[in-house]
C-alpha cells in the first residue's frame, strides 16, 4: 500500500505515543520512520517490532543510563530512538567510536547517525553482528536489513556516499498499517454523546 510521507509520519507518531513513548520521543520515532521511508528503506515493519517490544516490556527507561563510556540500557536493551535522540542531542559532543550494547531494531539509528555526520562533516559507519551501514547527512548506504537485536559500534569515517535516491511515498503492507493503527487507537478518547455535541461545538444537521 502506498502512503504519503506525511501520513506515514503522522501514523508513526501516534502509534509510538500509543505504545507508551512520550510525545517528544514519539516525534523522534516518527521523523526517523519518515527519513528511512524517504530513502526507500521500509521502516514501518521494524517500527511495529520496536513498539511491540516497548509495549511488552512496559515503559521503563530504555535509553542509555549514562552518556560516558559504552552505552547500556537499564533493562538490558537499548531503544534505537532513545539512543538516536541522545546522539543527535550531543551532536559534536558525541564521543566516537562508541559501542551501544544490545540495540533493538538498529536500523532506526541511521537517521540520527546521518544527522551527527553532518555535524562532524564526515560519514559515520555503523557496524553490527552481520554487517554495516554508512550514513552521511542526507545519504545512507545499507546493504541488508540489520538484525532485530545487536551490539552496534559507531565510528567516524567511511566511504563517501553518492546521493541516495529519494522516495516520495512509503510502500508498506496493509497488516503493518493495521498493527500501527492498533497502537495509534490507544491515544483516542472513546466518544460519548455529550462529547460528540459539546466537544466539537456543533449540531449534527445543517439544512440552512
Amino acid at each position: 500500500m502506498s502512503l504519503s510521507l506525511n501520513e506515514t509520519e503522522s501514523l508513526a507518531k501516534t502509534a509510538a505515543k500509543g505504545a507508551g513513548l512520550c510525545w517528544g520521543m514519539a516525534e523522534e520515532a516518527a521523523k526517523a520512520t519518515r527519513w528511512l521511508c524517504a530513502r526507500g528503506i521500509d521502516a514501518c515493519d521494524p517500527l511495529v517490532a520496536l513498539l511491540f517490544r516497548h509495549d511488552e516490556e512496559g515503559h521503563a527507561q530504555t535509553g542509555p543510563e549514562r552518556l560516558d563510556g559504552d552505552w547500556h540500557g537499564a533493562e538490558g536493551w537499548l531503544c534505537p530512538v532513545a539512543c538516536g535522540a541522545a546522539l543527535s542531542d550531543l551532536g559534536k559532543a558525541a564521543s566516537l567510536p562508541l559501542t551501544l550494547t544490545r540495540v533493538a531494531l538498529p536500523v532506526f539509528l541511521l537517521p540520527f547517525a546521518a544527522s551527527i555526520a553532518r555535524e562532524f562533516e564526515q560519514p559515520v559507519t555503523l557496524s553490527w553482528d552481520s554487517g554495516q551501514a554508512v550514513a552521511d547527512g542526507d545519504a545512507v548506504a545499507l546493504d541488508a536489513p540489520p538484525p532485530p537485536m545487536s551490539d552496534v559500534v559507531l565510528t567516524l569515517g567511511g566511504p563517501l556516499l553518492a546521493e541516495t535516491p529519494r522516495h516520495s511515498r512509503a510502500e508498506t503492507d496493509q497488516m503493518i498499517l493495521v498493527s500501527l493503527g492498533i497502537y495509534a487507537a490507544r491515544t483516542r478518547a472513546p466518544a460519548t454523546e455529550a462529547s460528540r455535541l459539546a466537544g466539537a461545538g456543533a449540531g449534527l444537521t445543517d439544512n440552512d
Partner: protein
C-alpha cells in the same frame, strides 16, 4: 523577484513585538490582507496568463454526475474533478463526522484521463473512507446552503434573478466542510509540489481547488434551474454571481494546526509584520496611494455593513468595528500628507480603536504598497524540519533564560488553579475528530494532545530548577524524556518568536474561534460568523472574478465590494 524577511527587518524598522501580536484576542481579530493566500493566487493566475476551461460537465437531471475544470499555467495544468450527488436533507451535516455530501472534489495534478476519473469516482465521493494518490493535491466536499440554493434555482427557473438581499444575507451557494491537502488520505505531500513557483506560497493548491469549486457551483445552480424551468430558465446575472463566495464551515480541527506548525505560523505573522513595518517606515505617501487607501477603506466599510452574524461574541466585536469605522473615516479625511503618515495613523489607532479596528486598518495600510510587499509572499512558506533537531549542547541556564524570555506569561500563571487547566484537547475515537473537553469533568486527561506549550514550558522550567546551570540539555533530557517536546518547542520559539501563541490554550476562558480566525484570515476569508465558541462559518472568494473573467485589472482588489456591487 523574491525578497526575504529576515533579521535585518527587525533592526531596520520597528516590528510590533510578539508579546503584542501573538495574543489570542488579537489573532482572533485579524483580517485578510494583500498577502492572503487567495489573493496571492488570483494575482499570480492573472499575471501569468493562466487559461481556464471546463473539460467535462456530465451531470444528469437529478444533479448527479461529474465535471472537470482545468487551470493551465505556463508550465503545468491542474484540474478540479467534481462529483455531484443527490443528498437527502437528513444527511446534510457540516461536521467532519458526516458521511455524505452534496458535492465532492479532488484537485488533480495534470489533466485526468478516463481511468483517473473512474478511480476518483470510487474514492472521492466517500472522502475519508477512500484513498487518493500522489496525482491528487487536495480532497474536499461541499454542502448546499439549502435556503439560498432553493431560492436561486426557483428564481432562475422562472426567468427571474434572485433577490440581492437574500444573496447578501447568505453569501454562498455551497460551503465546503473540509479541504484536505498535503498528503492526507494518500494525496501528494506538500514537499512534492513545494518547488513549483505557483505552489511556493502556502495553501495554493487548496485555494485553487476552492476557486475552481466556486465556478463549478455556479454552473451547477444554472444547470438545476434549466432542469426545473426548461426554456424559461435564465443564467445568473454575472454581477450577482460575483457576490457569491464559497462558504466554509470550520471546526476545532483547524485550531491544533496553529499550535503544531510554529515555524510556518511564525513566517505568516513575521511577513505580515515586516510588510507593516516597511509601510510605517515610509516618510510620506503619494496622492494616488492615499486615494487608493481611502477608496478601499470606504469599500471595506461597506463589507463590514454587510457582515452578518448572530453570535454574541462576534456581534459585540462587529459593533465595536462599526464604531471604529465611524471614527476612522473622518480621521483619515486629512493628515495623510504629513510626515510618516502610516506610522502616525497606526499610533492613533492603537489608542483609539478596538483590536478589530486596528487590524483592519493594518490590512488596509498595506494595500497601496504591493511593490514593496508582494515579493514577501513566498517567504510565508516554511520547512518545519528546520527547527526539529534539539541543540543538546545548550546549558540548562540558557534553556531557563529562553523560557523566561519566550513564556513569561506561562511562568506567571498558577497552573494548580483549576481554571488554568480547565480544558484538554483530545482526538475522539470516532472518525478521529479533534475535540476540546473539560479536563476536570470528563475522563479525557489520559488522551490529551500536546497543545499547551505554555503549561509544558512552565513544567520544564520547574524541573530544571534542581539541576546545575552548566549541565548540557542532552544530559537533562536523558533523565527527563517527558520534557523532550517542550525543550524542542522552547528552542524553536527562540528562532521563530511569532510562532508561539502568548496565551493559555487550555484555560477556561480560551476561545478556539480566535485560533480558527487567525488561520482563516491568512487564507483570505471574510464574513467571519462564529456558530459557537469553537465552530465558525466564513466566505471565500466573494467578489472575485470567475476564472474566465480574471484579468490583471480585477485580480487584486476584488475582496473590497465595488460601488454599486
Amino acid at each position: 523577484m523574491t525578497e526575504h524577511a529576515d533579521m535585518k527587518d527587525f533592526s531596520a524598522c520597528a516590528l510590533r513585538p510578539p508579546e503584542q501580536v501573538m495574543r489570542l484576542a488579537r489573532l482572533g481579530s485579524l483580517h485578510q490582507c494583500r498577502l492572503s493566500f487567495m489573493r496571492q493566487l488570483t494575482r499570480r493566475l492573472s499575471s501569468e496568463g493562466w487559461r481556464f476551461s471546463r473539460a467535462a460537465f456530465e451531470i444528469d437531471d437529478r444533479g448527479v454526475g461529474h465535471a472537470v475544470y482545468c487551470a493551465k499555467g505556463p508550465e503545468r495544468t491542474y484540474s478540479l474533478v467534481a462529483f455531484a450527488h443527490d443528498l437527502p436533507d437528513h444527511l446534510r451535516s457540516d461536521r467532519v463526522i458526516a458521511e455524505a455530501w452534496d458535492a465532492t472534489f479532488a484537485l488533480f495534478d495534470g489533466v485526468p484521463d478516463r481511468d483517473d476519473i473512474a478511480r476518483l469516482s470510487r474514492n472521492v465521493p466517500v472522502q475519508e473512507a477512500g484513498r487518493i494518490s500522489e496525482s491528487e493535491l487536495s480532497l474536499s466536499r461541499a454542502n448546499r446552503s439549502v435556503r439560498l440554493w432553493t431560492h436561486v434555482v426557483d428564481r432562475l427557473a422562472t426567468g427571474q434573478q434572485p433577490d440581492p438581499d437574500v444573496i447578501t444575507e447568505v453569501g454562498y451557494l455551497m460551503r465546503t466542510t473540509a479541504v484536505y491537502g498535503s498528503g492526507k488520505f494518500g494525496a501528494a505531500d506538500r514537499e512534492v509540489i513545494a518547488d513549483r513557483p505557483e505552489m511556493a506560497a502556502p495553501f495554493q493548491a487548496e485555494m485553487l481547488s476552492v476557486y475552481l469549486t466556486r465556478w463549478f457551483v455556479r454552473d451547477m445552480v444554472e444547470h438545476m434551474a434549466r432542469v426545473q424551468g426548461g426554456e424559461n430558465a435564465v443564467a445568473l446575472d454575472p454581477a450577482l454571481a460575483r457576490r457569491l463566495g464559497i462558504g466554509n464551515s470550520t471546526g476545532l480541527g483547524m485550531a491544533p494546526f496553529l499550535v503544531n506548525h510554529p515555524m510556518l505560523v511564525n513566517n505568516w505573522i513575521l511577513v505580515r509584520e515586516t510588510a507593516l513595518a516597511r509601510v510605517r517606515a515610509l516618510p510620506s505617501a503619494t496622492a494616488s496611494e492615499i486615494a487608493l487607501f481611502r477608496d478601499l477603506l470606504t469599500r471595506s466599510a461597506k463589507a463590514v455593513q454587510r457582515w452578518r452574524t448572530e453570535h454574541p461574541i462576534q456581534l459585540a466585536r462587529l459593533a465595536a468595528l462599526r464604531a471604529d469605522l465611524a471614527r476612522v473615516l473622518p480621521h483619515v479625511a486629512e493628515g495623510l500628507d504629513a510626515d510618516h503618515p502610516w506610522d502616525t495613523l497606526l499610533t492613533w489607532a492603537e489608542g483609539s480603536l478596538s483590536l478589530e479596528g486596528q487590524e483592519l486598518l493594518v490590512s488596509l495600510m498595506l494595500e497601496p504598497y504591493g511593490d514593496i510587499i508582494d515579493g514577501l509572499g513566498p517567504c510565508m512558506a516554511a520547512v518545519e524540519q528546520a527547527g526539529f533537531r534539539i541543540d543538546g549542547s545548550m546549558p540548562l541556564h540558557q534553556v531557563k533564560t529562553l523560557i523566561e524570555q519566550q513564556f513569561p506569561w506561562a511562568l506567571e500563571t498558577d497552573w494548580t488553579a483549576p481554571e488554568a487547566t480547565a480544558r484538554a484537547w483530545y482526538v475522539s475515537e470516532e472518525k478521529l475528530e479533534p475535540r476540546l473537553g473539560q479536563r476536570h469533568e470528563e475522563p479525557i486527561a489520559p488522551y490529551e494532545q500536546p497543545l499547551a506549550p505554555g503549561r509544558d514550558a512552565a513544567l520544564l522550567h520547574a524541573d530544571l530548577g534542581d539541576w546545575p546551570g552548566d549541565t548540557p540539555l542532552a544530559a537533562f533530557l536523558l533523565k527527563h524524556p517527558e520534557h523532550r517536546h517542550s525543550a524542542r518547542r522552547v528552542q524553536i520559539a527562540a528562532k521563530a518568536p511569532y510562532g508561539e501563541i502568548r496565551d493559555n490554550t487550555i484555560g477556561a476562558d480560551m476561545l478556539p474561534i480566535d485560533m480558527l480566525r487567525a488561520k482563516l484570515s491568512f487564507f483570505g476569508a471574510t464574513s467571519f460568523d462564529p456558530r459557537s465558541d469553537r465552530w465558525i462559518r466564513i466566505t471565500m472568494f466573494a467578489g472575485a472574478p470567475y476564472p474566465p473573467e480574471l484579468t490583471e485589472d480585477n485580480a487584486d482588489f476584488w475582496v473590497y465590494p465595488e460601488a454599486g456591487a
